[in-house]
């Protein structure tokens, strides 16, 4: 049990006030000893004081904001730990070449990416998925978690307005960071969804090379091609290509050098995309053990509810209170 504002608890002695102080609106009776003892009356008197004390306690507790502490539960599932790295650069707002084939003309790449990821996530029920987006720099969205709701919401949020540049290196390093404090389940992957544009500096390249290997991460790259864009698998870029390689292709060749498993897919049409997803699906299936955090429950509402109930009871008693007794003092 924890409190948001524990200092408010110092007010708790105030709850004794109704017990220590007499009610101000008492009537004076000439000789109370003449009134025969009445257990019911005494009980009601005691209850009224207790009600008042409880309502005060509940209000003060409510102000202090009680909540149970978060709990960690170990769970075992079959699946992978997947870090999704989603491009949010301005180029992602360009049309998606695969959309036309599926009958969605004019679908932007970012929307398509969100759609594809959503489908993918819905297919894999036991994965722990973390989300990182990037444009100018990486944006940490969601740590590795099992909560479908959070993952889908995070993916949905990526399909919004875009920023300008494509900093793939930053996105990937952040994605690697997702795995830093999570026990290795043996099946870990980073899925990079981008339209490929962007260069990675030599320093970051070296770092990625080390980290992907250290954290035992396989990398899947889904390239969203825009109509008429270059294909990374274009044989004309292989060997002896003269001239400057397009950034996608350059990145592809760099990824190929990685010591950890790497696969690239071009999500050009639904079929190849489905194949890519099925491929990932198949490769990343091992039992994983992970700790799930169950958030603490907030009891503030309950406290206020009880206090309101008690006050309502007190008010109803107030309604029963004698007003007709005509005494002088």
């Amino acid at each position: 049990m924890g409190f948001v504002h524990p200092l408010v608890l110092w007010l708790l002695p105030l709850a004794l006030l109704p017990i220590l102080l007499e009610r101000s609106n008492t009537k004076t009776y000439s000789w109370v000893a003449m009134l025969p003892a009445d257990p019911l009356s005494n009980l009601i008197g005691l209850l009224l004081k207790i009600l008042a004390a409880i309502s005060l306690i509940c209000i003060i507790l409510g102000l202090a904001g009680p909540h149970s502490l978060e709990q960690k539960v170990e769970r075992i599932g079959i699946g992978a730990q997947i870090g999704m790295v989603i491009d949010r650069s301005a180029s992602m707002d360009d049309p998606f070449s695969g959309g036309t084939a599926e009958g969605r003309v004019g679908e932007t790449k970012s929307v398509a990416a969100a759609r594809l990821m959503t489908d993918f996530v819905n297919k894999r029920k036991n994965d722990m998925i973390g989300v990182v987006t990037f444009s100018n720099s990486a944006m940490y969205v969601l740590p590795l978690t099992e909560s479908r709701e959070a993952i889908l919401a995070a993916i949905k949020a990526t399909a919004g307005n875009s920023l300008f540049q494509t900093n793939i290196g930053g996105g990937l390093t952040s994605a690697v960071g997702l795995f830093e404090h999570v026990p290795d389940s043996g099946s870990r992957a980073v899925i990079l969804i981008s339209d490929g544009a962007g260069r990675v500096s030599a320093e970051v390249q070296q770092k990625l090379l080390d980290w992907l290997q250290r954290y035992n991460l396989s990398l899947y790259w889904v390239v969203l091609r825009q109509p008429g864009g270059v294909s990374i698998f274009d044989p004309k870029f292989e060997e002896h290509y003269e001239g400057i390689l397009p950034s996608e292709v350059e990145l592809y060749y760099y990824f190929k050098l990685l010591r950890s498993p790497f696969h690239a897919y071009e999500a050009e049409d639904p079929k190849s995309l489905a194949a890519a997803m099925a491929d990932i699906n198949q490769k990343e299936k091992k039992p994983i053990k992970y700790m799930e955090k169950i958030p603490g429950h907030d009891f503030t509402q309950l406290c206020y509810f009880i206090a309101a109930l008690m006050i309502a009871l007190l008010l109803s008693v107030k309604y029963l209170e004698l007003r007709t007794w005509n005494t002088k003092i």
Partner: protein, 287 residues
């Protein structure tokens, strides 16, 4: 309240006053009264106006006889007034105000009968500041009673009733003991034992809102003005009946106690009616 508004009652006493002072009550003092007491010789009672010629003629020893009469004398009248916390209670009129009415009525009536009147207030002790010595004039008592109307007090009881006896005269007096008698019966009895010499009229001030005129239904808190004790009351039919029963028992207890000392309590509810007190004297006090 000016004096002409004070309603008087008529009272008499059942014993012979021993006071020399001429008044309206039977007395055992020889004097200028109408009550024939006997004969004596002129030598021993040299009052030629009272020579009884028939008795003188009939006397073979030829002494001159004189009739002796008892004069009418006064009697001291006291108001013993309870000034405890419970006397602050009342519905239309506080009990202490009713007590003031009674004290003023007594003072006025006593003066009318040429009796001496005094006032003794008491709570837990005898209140020396609420004391009027015997006087043939009612003013000081009336004024003191007038002050009583605005009197308020804190938490005090009425144990002083036992001590009041030391302020009473040795001769038999008429004493109006004005109180609600919300006090332990043992205290009351202790004081009555000491006051047996006097003729006591217990005036019991009760308020109908105390017992018979309670609200029908509801919850309230009550405080005792003497002890400060607080209770919560849940008034309902059964409990009201029990309160009423408790007061009826109390009434019987008070009556029994006073009856044992040959007194009849005079119950005053809500307000004082002097005529009822006159009736009381006619009914319970032998003329």
């Amino acid at each position: 309240m000016s004096e002409q508004h004070i309603k008087e009652f008529s009272y008499h006493i059942a014993w012979r006053s021993r006071s020399r002072r001429p008044g309206r009550h039977k007395s055992n003092q020889r004097g200028m009264g109408m009550e024939f007491r006997g004969h004596t010789t002129l030598l021993s009672y040299p009052d030629p106006r009272r020579i009884d010629i028939r008795q003188t003629i009939r006397d073979p020893l030829e002494q001159i006889h004189v009739r002796i009469f008892n004069q009418k004398s006064i009697t001291p009248v006291f108001v013993l007034c309870d000034m405890s916390g419970s006397m602050q209670y009342g519905s239309n009129q506080r009990k202490i105000e009713v007590a003031a009415d009674i004290a003023q009525s007594v003072a006025q009536s006593a003066t009318h009968n040429r009796d001496l009147v005094g006032f003794i207030g008491f709570d837990d002790v005898v209140r020396e500041d609420w004391l009027c010595t015997l006087s043939a004039r009612p003013h000081s008592t009336v004024e003191m009673a007038e002050n009583l109307r605005s009197y308020t007090t804190t938490e005090v009881g009425s144990r002083g009733i036992i001590e009041t006896v030391r302020l009473l005269p040795r001769e038999r007096s008429l004493i109006f003991m004005v109180s609600d008698f919300h006090m332990p019966i043992s205290d009351l009895e202790a004081s009555l034992v000491l006051m047996q010499r006097h003729h006591i009229v217990p005036v019991v001030l009760w308020d109908s809102s105390e017992y018979s005129d309670l609200p029908e239904f509801g919850i309230t808190n009550v405080t005792d003005p003497e002890t400060g004790a607080t209770r919560t009351l849940f008034l309902r039919k059964a409990y009201r009946d029990r309160i009423l029963q408790s007061f009826n028992d109390r009434r019987a207890t008070i009556k029994n106690l006073f009856s044992r000392y040959d007194m009849e309590p005079f119950f005053v509810e809500n307000h004082f009616d002097a005529d009822l007190l006159s009736d009381y004297f006619h009914q319970y006090v032998a003329a």
